[in-house]
């Protein structure tokens, strides 16, 4: 087992394992870095709703492609369906929170559960009517790296690189809008477009992550590395960078672990590792960590 783990960590465990490991690491890098801004702008719950809202789109895209006589499981089609349905969820969420008296978190919860429920119904119908060959669709819920192809890894690599470039070029407006949106507007920043870009980048992370960690867990890969990184630095650029590195490490090690322990599913392994990084940071980080707080309290006699 240890041998397999070491081989996997150094990309020596075969071509497919290397693809999975690389894909998961790049996904973690992009999701961690984008997620730092998503979290600071307080869009964590919204991104979770967006992720769950992809499910009906995946089911409907499968049906459409199967009905047209194609392969219902073609990834580009499924991703397009997922994106459309997440966008619809966002638009409805916007309408619910601006046109009704529902508080935003309640509206978000309503959209999340309604879309997810609709998605499960559609998947069940697909399985019962026996259209196409639906095997594997449920893999989008929690991720399923078993059948990951070269094209999938390439998609994650390209998408991730694009996202990181976009993030680097928008970092100032994103940071200023997250810290003080009113001042950002005074400085000539179009905060609505900036927020929209952030949501689109978050959605892109969700889509890239469907194969690896799945739509239920992707939110954890967006926010947990950011929370861990925040404990180590007080500068947003460094927080985003560290979050990306923590996400990449969790992705890579998680993929290697699940190869070494075949009963351990990849997506959950990645999420648990990211959470472990957060726990370690909460204990050990200088300044904000529990240990250094205890030491400071101890050093102050009489407290």
């Amino acid at each position: 087992m240890t041998e397999t783990l070491l081989q996997a960590l150094f990309f020596q465990a075969g071509y497919n394992a290397a693809l999975v490991s690389l894909g998961a690491a790049l996904l973690g890098l992009a999701a961690g870095a984008v997620g730092a801004f998503t979290t600071l702008r307080r869009r964590a719950l919204v991104s979770d709703a967006m992720a769950h809202a992809t499910l009906p789109g995946i089911g409907l895209a499968f049906l459409a492609m199967a009905a047209l006589g194609g392969d219902g499981r073609a990834l580009p089609g499924l991703l397009a369906g997922a994106a459309l349905s997440a966008a619809l969820g966002l638009i409805l969420l916007q309408a619910l929170s601006s046109r009704t008296r529902l508080p935003e978190d309640a509206a978000t919860g309503a959209i999340l559960s309604a879309f997810y429920g609709a998605g499960i119904v559609i998947l069940t119908v697909i399985q019962n009517v026996g259209i196409g060959r639906p095997a594997g669709l449920e893999g989008f819920l929690l991720g399923s790296t078993a059948g990951m192809l070269r094209a999938d890894a390439l998609l994650i690599a390209l998408g991730g690189a694009l996202l990181l470039g976009l993030l680097a070029s928008l970092r100032r407006p994103l940071a200023m809008t997250a810290f003080d949106p009113v001042h950002a507007r005074m400085m000539g920043i179009d905060t609505r477009s900036t927020d929209l870009m952030l949501l689109l980048m978050t959605l892109a992370c969700v889509l890239l992550g469907l194969r690896v960690v799945g739509l239920i867990l992707i939110v954890a890969l967006l926010i947990t590395p950011a929370l861990a990184a925040r404990l180590w630095s007080d500068r947003i650029g460094i927080v985003a960078l560290l979050a990306g590195l923590i996400g990449a490490a969790a992705g890579h090690v998680g993929a290697a672990l699940s190869l070494a322990l075949p009963d351990l599913p990849t997506g959950p392994a990645i999420i648990l590792l990211a959470f472990a990084a957060f726990v370690m940071s909460a204990l050990l980080a200088p300044g904000r960590g529990l240990l250094s707080r205890l030491r400071r309290a101890h050093a102050r006699p009489g407290v």
Binding site: L170, A175, F179, D180, V182, H183, M186, I236
Partner: protein
């Protein structure tokens, strides 16, 4: 209203509101406010809680939508004059646990110079550092903003506005919950700005300091009650009028 082609060399008007009305959810908050703020003046906006002071300023700057009215800054529509205006929001309006150092926040005031990608040139860095030094905060540049006292946070906000080098500085309750040293530092900076011809407008609460700090007042209680030089406008009956209405409506009939 003076005709636009008037050739009289009147003092330039930094900010002019005419008939500005704002409502939140159907409730009028500011009604038909008309006011002029001459360049080089320092005006206190005073009035009871809920009088619409903050809203008036936000609507004037286009930060909340107005129902009606027109706002011009330096003779231009306010949207076009924004590069000349620095706004200092209430300290409580932001999350101070945000991962930023003091100098990072001040440098946000340089965005019009740097844009999203431009480099912070040595000149711009020096400008940010000088703004901090003007408020006695030079030693705090590398501190995390959450580790500051309320007064220090207020000074950082003002330093960010100074870095913008605006001709009009609009402040929303700059003295709320700050210590005496901060209040003195802020007022010294604001008076220095006025001496250099800049225009200052501030929402202010402490009536006892109005004559010492401000040369003009605007008394507001949804409507403009009075507006003018402190010496002629800041009188007991006028202030009572601005505050009294609120007291009356607070008593159940």
């Amino acid at each position: 209203m003076a005709p636009a082609d008037s050739a009289t060399p009147l003092p330039e008007i930094a900010l002019a509101l005419s008939g500005l009305s704002v409502a939140y959810g159907g409730m009028p908050v500011v009604e038909a406010a008309t006011a002029r703020f001459p360049a080089g003046s320092m005006t206190a906006i005073i009035g009871p809680n809920g009088a619409g002071k903050s809203t008036l300023l936000k609507a004037a700057l286009g930060l909340v939508p107005a129902l009606a009215g027109e706002v011009r800054a330096f003779g231009q529509p306010v949207a076009r004059a924004l590069p000349r205006i620095a706004y200092v929001p209430q300290r409580a309006a932001v999350d101070w646990d945000f991962p930023a150092r003091v100098i990072d926040v001040v440098q946000m005031g340089l965005y019009r110079q740097t844009g999203p990608l431009g480099r912070l040139t040595p000149d711009l860095r020096a400008r940010a550092e000088q703004s901090l030094a003007d408020l006695g905060m030079a030693d705090f540049a590398q501190r995390q903003i959450g580790a500051l006292s309320g007064g220090q946070q207020q000074r950082v906000f003002l330093a960010r506005a100074l870095a913008q080098q605006g001709d009009l500085i609009v402040l929303d309750e700059p003295f709320a919950g700050v210590d005496a040293a901060t209040e003195a530092a802020i007022i010294a900076v604001l008076h220095g700005l006025r001496a250099r011809g800049r225009t200052v407008i501030a929402v202010h609460h402490d009536l006892s300091t109005v004559p010492a700090y401000f040369d003009r007042v605007l008394l507001l209680n949804r409507r403009v009650i009075a507006e003018g030089p402190t010496s002629t406008t800041f009188h007991r009956d006028r202030v009572a009028e601005a505050y009294g209405n609120q007291l009356l409506t607070a008593i159940p009939a």
